[in-house]
């Protein structure tokens, strides 16, 4: 036999018998960890404190640090938040339950935990969570269930979330250490000769719906609605009422309140790196309040690393049917308040800030930080300043490789 023929034939035979390498299927899970450190500082002053019947100082300072953690592993995610609002309030002294210095300190601590699961085939995200907050005269437990669906072409999203809050307005949980037994509702000092309410609980049921639509390469619109039902003690026990006959009482509201809010949003990425975020909001409830919000937030991309953030918001509100200024309520009325938060007011909020996206190592380190200042001015003389800062750290990496044998 010819040597050449033998060689070629041997090679061909060996190719026939050779098997391809069994690579198997590999799965990679992306692990993402995001940590956000925030600090909010709030200063307020005005002359219509509800604690003193609609007249009196509303000076208040809030120191608000908080910590957010988000972890994603493949299709699972968890969100954890922990924060505190330390409140120094001049009007709190006028409740006078405890002898205190000129501005009594209070603290509201809050936390929340949420689990999310992404269903790849249906492009749906399911979420469930718990939250809680506690301060000296308020304790709240929240439960949340949510669902978000993205269309197959990624042009629409639909979302629904149910929130249930069960609150307890009794004072005393922070009186003798943390989570002490609650004691009583706290009334103004001169009005403690009787119980003014037969309920100390407040339950809130909120249904939030959302729809967003990508119109084209530069425009997105969104419609959001919130339906809310509140039951129980809806008044604030230490809000004084001065009647027209010089007698005094505490705020009284119906034991149910229904609220509806709707907002339309339009985000546009214009040429020149300017992003306009516009919102029109409408609100109504069965306390008689009607509200209209016009809001614009603009992001001006000065460079890939720096974004300027001016904002402007206008709000106008028709007063609640239960509101009257100090000394104008008739003692024969069933429900009454002198809380100017529920009166006919207009307000303007002007803001400025920046956001920085540092160039760091690709999947690790400081992702962005932002600084924002807001000035709030209300037509009845309330003024407030807010400073918010946030530092966002992000770490991404591939998870453990898992091999599957192919059949």
């Amino acid at each position: 036999m010819n040597k050449r023929t033998l060689l070629v034939g041997s090679l061909a035979f060996s190719l026939l018998m050779a098997k391809a390498q069994n690579r198997g299927k590999s799965e990679f899970k992306v692990k993402e960890t995001e940590v956000e450190l925030l600090y909010n500082h709030y200063l307020q002053n005005g002359d219509n404190s509800a604690v003193t019947g609609g007249e009196g100082t509303e000076r208040l300072t809030v120191y608000g640090p908080s910590f957010n953690l988000k972890k994603k592993l493949g299709k699972n995610g968890i969100n954890f938040q922990l924060g505190a609002d330390i409140i120094s309030s001049a009007s709190t002294d006028n409740i006078d339950r405890i002898k205190s210095s000129a501005s009594r300190l209070d603290a509201r601590s809050y936390t929340s935990f949420q689990y999310t699961r992404y269903l790849e085939k249906s492009k749906m995200t399911l979420s469930a969570g718990l939250s809680g907050s506690i301060e000296s005269d308020y304790f709240s437990i929240g439960k949340h269930l949510g669902i978000t669906k993205t269309s197959q072409n990624d042009m629409q999203t639909y979302s629904a979330e149910l929130q249930i809050f069960n609150d307890d307005l009794r004072w005393g949980r922070l009186d003798d250490g943390f989570l002490s037994e609650p004691q009583f509702l706290i009334y103004p000092v001169e009005l403690r000769f009787q119980e003014w309410y037969d309920e100390y609980r407040r339950d809130s049921y909120n249904l939030n719906l959302g729809f967003t639509q990508v119109l084209d390469q530069r425009n997105t619109i969104g419609i959001f609605s919130a339906l809310s039902l509140q039951k129980g003690l809806l008044a604030t026990p230490f809000h004084r009422i001065f009647f027209s006959d010089n007698s005094r009482g505490v705020e009284q509201f119906p034991d149910e309140r229904r609220k509806l809010a709707v907002s339309l949003r339009w985000n546009r990425f214009t040429t020149g790196g300017v992003i306009l975020k516009n919102k029109v909001g409408l609100y109504t409830d069965d306390f008689g309040i009607l509200g209209l919000t016009l809001d614009n937030e603009t992001a001006i991309k000065l460079s890939p690393k720096w974004t300027l953030l001016p904002s402007l918001r206008y709000y106008t509100q028709k007063e609640s049917k239960f509101f009257a200024p100090k000394g104008e309520h008739d003692p024969s009325e069933e429900f009454y308040t002198s809380d100017y938060d529920l009166s006919a007011v207009n307000s303007i909020t002007v803001g400025m800030g920046w956001r920085h996206w540092p160039a760091t190592r690709k999947n690790k380190g400081l992702h962005n930080f932002s600084f924002r200042y807001f000035f709030y001015s209300r037509s009845n003389g309330l003024r407030a300043h807010t400073v918010s800062t946030s530092f966002n750290f992000l770490k991404k990496r591939k998870g453990r490789e898992r091999k599957k044998k192919s059949k």
């Binding site: 957010n68 907050s133 990624d154 530069r218 709707v262 306390f287 307000s347 600084f371 709030y376």
Partner: protein, 74 residues
């Protein structure tokens, strides 16, 4: 309030139906839409100000991202 609700519901249906009129974007056409600043949900640095609005005004926002209960009064 029922008539107001019906009008709002009809408006939402009309706006939602506009969705069917938009042609799908290809991945390379989404560079502006996917920019983080275009997000409808917003950044955490704004949330405290929204919370302050909800406390100091009689209304709530439709986005409804309330972290917890709590009074925030005074």
């Amino acid at each position: 309030m029922n008539q107001f609700l019906l009008k709002i519901f009809a408006l939402c249906l009309l706006l939602a139906s506009l969705g069917s009129c938009s042609a799908a974007l290809k991945p390379y056409e989404r560079q502006y839409i996917n920019d983080p600043e275009m997000s409808m949900t917003g950044f955490s640095a704004n949330k405290f100000q929204h919370y302050a609005h909800a406390i100091r005004e009689g209304s709530v926002t439709a986005e409804g991202k309330k972290g917890s209960g709590g009074c925030g009064c005074n």
